[in-house]
């Protein structure tokens, strides 16, 4: 995949020579050709998904509410089945950040994008889209394999603008991305591999450092690929939404998730958290219970989207409980603490640093759940508890 981004970047100067009006078509042609080269099944899936989404966006508004909802539910169930097939089809789930174990690369992102488009087409009055707009959005190669989960409306209204500033900015992002992936992620992976394989022989300090290194590796890996996607897209004149914004410098888990994989967080908020919590509130479920239930649904989905395994389920539950603690538990706990201490924690730099450290430590500890299979993760935690 790294070479694929490089090939796309190398092709960009030829793209710049094209008349401006030809560039969207050329970008789409490159996308479709690239998908065929990547995996012919990916091309078939993208063409099929674009056809279904365009058909629903065109016919859906003419249908009555009940059949429109029925078709939407059926389409979402089909997407879920496709997603499960993709995760399990090639022999089971993988641990993060490996892409091994997927039947078709990029399908997890494709499924989310199509689901979002279908829901918007079903619930937005006057929604319309052309087949070309949908197809270009889905096959735009820089963001196809690993996101960001670019919003349809943000992408379709863009006219590619190749400017010196944008090209230089794109080159800079490519440099950042490759540095993160080849230097940071690669070497951290090498350093953590023996710790993850045999935690029993490591000290407590090594195990904690190992957990932080795993979390840092996830960050460098995911944000590195986002940098590559944003950088290559800039070389083709497109502005793609940001996906990471210094998450480890945030003071609590809520803010962490607002700045970690931001386009996925937006998807979870828009299509799971908001509808689920509001449905429960409308049905007279008490506020805290509704918020907690919506957090659990959203983060369980988040975990299972990353991988179909018990470690991912526990990881999602842990994130949900952490978010619930920040939103519901901590404010209540603060009422029982001395006001001066609470003020210091909330407003001083030392309080901010301590809070960020606790947040990063929580994320690092839970990262072990998805860096290993469940048995391996439990062995890691057992070694951490028994070590000195």
């Amino acid at each position: 995949m790294l070479l694929g981004f490089l090939a796309l970047a190398a092709l960009a100067p030829a793209y710049w020579l094209l008349p401006a009006g030809w560039r969207p078509g050329a970008s789409m042609a490159i996308g479709l050709t690239g998908l065929y080269w990547l995996d012919p099944r990916a091309l078939v899936l993208v063409l099929g998904a674009a056809t279904v989404a365009f058909g629903f966006a065109t016919l859906g508004p003419r249908l009555a509410l009940a059949p429109r909802r029925a078709i939407l539910v059926l389409a979402l169930l089909a997407l879920a089945a496709l997603f499960v097939w993709n995760k399990l089809g090639a022999g089971g789930h993988a641990v993060l950040p490996s892409q091994a174990g997927l039947a078709v690369l990029g399908l997890s992102y494709l499924v989310l994008k199509i689901a979002a488009l279908l829901v918007e087409a079903a619930r937005t009055p006057g929604f319309s889209a052309t087949f070309t707009e949908v197809l270009h959005w889905l096959c735009f190669l820089p963001i196809y394999p690993s996101g960001p989960i670019e919003e349809f409306d943000h992408f379709r209204h863009q006219q590619p603008r190749v400017t010196r500033a944008r090209v230089l900015g794109g080159c800079e992002r490519l440099l950042f991305g490759y540095s993160k992936l080849l230097l940071g992620s690669h070497y951290l992976g090498q350093w953590t591999a023996p710790l993850l394989a045999d935690p029993a022989s490591a000290s407590r300090l090594e195990l904690w450092l190992g957990a932080y290194a795993v979390a840092a590796r996830f960050y460098l890996d995911f944000s590195g690929y986002s940098d590559l996607a944003i950088g290559v897209a800039a070389l083709y004149g497109y502005e793609i939404e940001e996906n990471f914004d210094w998450p480890f410098l945030r003071r609590n888990l809520t803010q962490f998730w607002q700045h970690w994989h931001m386009t996925l967080t937006r998807f979870l908020r828009t299509y799971l958290f908001v509808p689920v919590s509001r449905l429960l509130l409308r049905n007279r479920v008490p506020g805290p219970a509704a918020i907690l239930a919506a957090q659990v649904v959203s983060m369980l989905f988040c975990g299972l989207w990353h991988g179909l395994g018990w470690g991912f389920v526990l990881w999602g539950l842990a994130q949900a409980l952490g978010l619930a603690w920040v939103g519901l538990g901590a404010p209540r706990a603060a009422r029982h603490l001395p006001p001066a201490l609470v003020r210091w924690w909330r407003s001083s730099r030392a309080g901010y640093a301590a809070s960020s450290f606790v947040t990063a430590s929580f994320f690092a500890a839970t990262a072990i759940l998805v860096a290993l299979d469940l048995r391996g993760a439990l062995a890691y935690f057992a070694a951490l508890a028994a070590s000195r």
């Binding site: 958290f273 908001v274 509001r278 509130l281 918020i291």
Partner: protein, 84 residues
């Protein structure tokens, strides 16, 4: 519904129900970017504004752009009001 009371009523809700220090909130300041508003508080804020304005806010409108500041909330609610 009294538009003259809008800002005072929202500030009271932010302060008393969401425990947000409303002294940090100006007319245009971003509640989301400043870390004062999150998904959970946005949903509660939407419920409050529904009651305040006497309208139903659809799920598709419960997004940061519409609730990010006092001005954004006011603009959104006004856009949903039937023309006088």
């Amino acid at each position: 519904m009294d538009w003259n009371r809008f800002e005072a009523d929202v500030r009271a809700f932010l302060r008393d129900d969401l425990r947000i220090d409303d002294r940090e909130v100006s007319e245009a300041s971003s509640l989301y970017r400043s870390g004062l508003l999150d998904s959970a508080s946005m949903v509660q804020l939407a419920a409050f504004l529904e009651t305040w304005a006497g309208i139903a806010i659809p799920d598709r409108d419960v997004k940061i752009e519409n609730f990010d500041s006092l001005r954004a909330m006011r603009d959104y609610l006004r856009s949903r009001m039937p023309p006088a």
